[in-house]
């Protein structure tokens, strides 16, 4: 009997379907990716049952870090085409008699995260290249009644962009007096409607007694 000759196969594996699938996945992830924004200080937000997603634009965020430092951010990172950030910084400069160069304004515009720098450190902060120097200057925005810079940030942000919404993003362990001060500042500047950034959690409650 003649032997059945098996067709000799090459050991090559055809990777084309694999590549197809991978390119699909890659495209999907690239298009849906919204990068996690890093904060200068780790913020562990508390949870709530609220399901309202946080807005993307026209927002100002007051960030409360664990060590009671207060940061401020407009529109979550880099400036939009409307260039609110430059205008806000110019107004702040006028208030504190600091003249910012166009290069410094651009630096401020491009700065990706929230900042917690007092106005007299702002020039040094924008000039600094070393991230260590930068983070050393971030002592938090003064919020006490003697030098309430946060109030002016809120005020000028609202003047420049009247449609802005206020967000508070706080760490779970921030002490209440700091929160109270920030709420007072917002209330003082007639921001009575604002949102707290939280994580989602699910809670089931019924009126039935167990």
């Amino acid at each position: 009997m003649p032997k059945i000759k098996l067709p000799s196969k090459s050991p090559h594996i055809d990777m084309t379907p694999l590549v197809d699938l991978f390119s699909l996945l890659l495209t999907f992830f690239m298009l849906t990716a919204t990068m996690k924004t890093s904060e200068p200080a780790p913020i562990d937000t508390p949870s709530s049952v609220s399901e309202k997603p946080s807005p993307d634009a026209n927002i100002m965020t007051v960030v409360l870090a664990k060590d009671n430092r207060v940061f401020f951010n407009v529109d979550n990172g880099k400036d939009t085409i409307l260039h609110f950030r430059t205008k806000i910084l110019e107004e702040m400069g006028k208030r504190y008699n600091i003249v910012f160069t166009p290069a410094e304004l651009r630096q401020f515009e491009q700065y990706g995260t929230s900042m917690g720098v007092a106005m007299n450190d702002m020039k040094a902060f924008l000039a600094a290249k070393d991230p260590k120097v930068k983070s050393a200057l971030e002592k938090g925005i003064p919020i006490d009644s003697v030098d309430n810079q946060m109030a002016y940030w809120v005020l000028y942000t609202r003047e420049v962009n009247p449609a802005v919404q206020a967000l508070i993003k706080g760490d779970a362990d921030v002490e209440y007096p700091v929160v109270k001060k920030v709420l007072d500042i917002l209330q003082d500047k007639n921001v009575s409607r604002f949102s707290l950034v939280t994580n989602l959690r699910k809670v089931e409650v019924t009126s039935d007694k167990k």
Binding site: F22, F29, K52, L196, S207
Partner: protein, 220 residues
């Protein structure tokens, strides 16, 4: 697929130079893609942060004279948030002779207390939501919230909750208590300043509570 099988033809004496295989080695490409996919998967923030809206009343200017709204004692419920996630509460007017009642943020803690007082409204909201889910009430998803708001506005049986903060409270407590309000469906609550008398009450309550942790003794 991407391979073209070429048959070697041999004609006459002329020999063509042997053609290389048209196979492309895709392994490096797959490697790279794997890497990129992993990168994007890890950096993508899928769950967008949620927000919880709160509205504070306008601040009363110092020269303005507005009488505080009068509310019935029997309907008020005072909640004072203390240190270490402790919740103190008492109904009605502050009374230094009565000790504060102590509870916590667990499901059987402050939520049960609020739920007991707000049962009438809570049942109404619950029934409404069930009817919507069962399809008995035909309503746009957007108007559900408005309808619940209307139910809350019409309510005059539930408690009026005054939320106060002892100075050692945490931001988390603020979020948690407002969250409880929305879970239980409290129609009327307000964040107010703590009275000095209440501060004293909290301090006595803290002092009388058995200490679970002995504070380290500082040596000078």
């Amino acid at each position: 697929m991407a391979e073209i099988i070429q048959e070697e033809k041999q004609k006459g004496g002329k020999r063509r130079p042997k053609k290389g295989s048209t196979h492309i080695d895709m392994t490096p490409m797959v490697d790279l893609m794997c890497l990129l996919i992993t990168f994007f998967m890890l950096t993508t923030a899928f769950s967008k942060p949620k927000v919880m809206e709160i509205v504070l009343p306008d601040k009363i200017k110092k020269d303005q004279k507005i009488d505080p709204p009068k509310i019935a004692d029997s309907r008020t419920l005072n909640i004072i948030l203390g240190p270490d996630d402790i919740v103190y509460w008492y109904p009605g007017k502050p009374d230094a002779s009565k000790p504060l009642q102590k509870t916590d943020f667990s499901a059987n803690g402050i939520r049960q207390i609020l739920l007991d007082r707000n049962l009438a409204l809570f049942k109404k909201i619950e029934k409404f939501q069930k009817d919507v889910i069962a399809g008995k009430i035909n309503i746009q998803p957007d108007s559900v919230r408005t309808a619940i708001k209307a139910l809350k506005n019409d309510d005059d049986t539930g408690p009026i909750v005054l939320i106060k903060f002892y100075k050692k409270a945490k931001y988390k407590n603020l979020v948690d208590i407002i969250d409880e309000m929305s879970i239980v469906g409290i129609a009327r609550y307000i964040l107010t300043d703590i009275y000095p008398i209440e501060e004293v009450m909290v301090e006595t309550a803290l002092a009388s509570a058995p200490k679970t942790l002995t504070p380290p003794i500082a040596k000078k």
